[in-house]
């Protein structure tokens, strides 16, 4: 009986957290309906992606250490040269793996 209650508690928490996360995902889409296309908030949201890309990459490189930095730079340069995502990801993955393996 105690195990059953514990399982129900865990399931309840999972559903509550799932609902919370979905509310965050859908909330922005629904709330933005009241936003004017030429307003400051709309302009902010139009300009945000490129800047968030950069901040995302910086955060990723920091958490990945030197292997993250090397892999990301190799992927970026390969993409700039070849314009092929698969080549860039393959090269970046290989560079990160090599850097991590030799313990840098």
């Amino acid at each position: 009986m105690r195990d059953l209650m514990k399982n129900l508690d865990v399931l309840g928490v999972i559903f509550i957290l799932g609902l919370t996360c979905y509310a965050m995902r859908a909330g922005g889409y629904v709330l933005a309906a009241s936003m004017r296309d030429d307003g400051i908030a709309a302009r902010f949201l139009r300009l945000a992606p490129g800047n968030l890309f950069i901040a995302f990459i910086v955060s990723g490189c920091l958490s990945g250490g030197l292997a993250g930095l090397v892999g990301t730079l190799v992927a970026l340069v390969t993409m700039a040269v070849t314009a092929r995502e698969w080549a860039a990801l393959g090269a970046g993955f290989g560079a990160a793996l090599a850097t991590s393996t030799i313990g840098l």
Binding site: R25, R46, L47, P49, S59, G71, T72, A75, F93
Partner: protein, 225 residues
């Protein structure tokens, strides 16, 4: 929302089967260590579907479960989805919310970033968002399930390299984004602020704060950057 966009997103996101699979595997092993059963762990990854929210709530796991604190932690770590959802409304303004509810359920950092970049190249297409979200979700949930099916170690260079794939993937989007930029200052601001702030907050917040500051610099320029 087109079938062509769906296929384009699905194919472009296939590498995430590997990277999300590796990350999901690590999450599954952590759940296993906590004593959660496979159905609960899989349901967790499926319904919550957020590495940051799941990691944070795992660190708060106790008996009795601190539900209110966990909800607040989820809101704090996932507030960036409000911005992402609002930006998607800018892209898909003509699309009724009910037609995009499933895609929003699977919304992730990478699928949003990819959809934004694809919209610049090919025009807004909600099919791309759904298509790119599916391999990511399959990888994440499948990886969690795999942790219960196989006795696997969580350490090693291979896991680290696989975990870095999302960052590398976003890096491949930069050349196309650079074409829209009018000066390097917004990006430099984003990078420097994200770097400085990361000393004090977790990566999801440093991404949001750094990107927000860079966007403010963009807004002060005469034309969109």
């Amino acid at each position: 929302m087109t079938a062509a966009g769906f296929r384009r997103g699905l194919v472009a996101a296939l590498p995430f089967l590997l990277s999300n699979g590796a990350a999901g595997l690590v999450m599954g092993l952590t759940y296993k260590g906590l004593g959660l059963g496979a159905p609960q762990a899989i349901l967790f990854s499926l319904l919550v579907y957020s590495a940051t929210a799941q990691a944070i709530t795992l660190s708060m796991w106790a008996s009795p479960l601190p539900v209110a604190a966990m909800v607040v932690a989820c809101i704090a770590t996932n507030s960036r989805y409000l911005l992402m959802g609002a930006h998607l409304r800018q892209l898909f303004g003509g699309l009724a919310p009910r037609k995009i509810l499933l895609s929003l359920f699977l919304l992730a950092d990478a699928s949003w970033l990819m959809t934004s970049s694809d919209a610049d190249r090919n025009g807004p297409d909600a099919g791309y968002l759904l298509g790119s979200s599916i391999p990511m979700a399959i990888g994440w949930v499948g990886g969690t399930a795999l942790a219960y099916a196989a006795p696997l170690a969580t350490n090693g260079p291979l896991r680290l390299a696989a975990a870095l794939l999302p960052t590398m993937f976003i890096a491949t989007l930069l050349p196309s984004q650079w074409k829209n930029a009018t000066s390097p200052w917004p990006w430099l601001t984003s990078a420097v602020v994200a770097f400085l702030v990361s000393r004090f907050v977790d990566p999801s917040w440093s991404m949001l704060i750094g990107g927000g500051c860079g966007t403010l610099v963009s807004m002060m320029e005469r034309t969109d950057a």
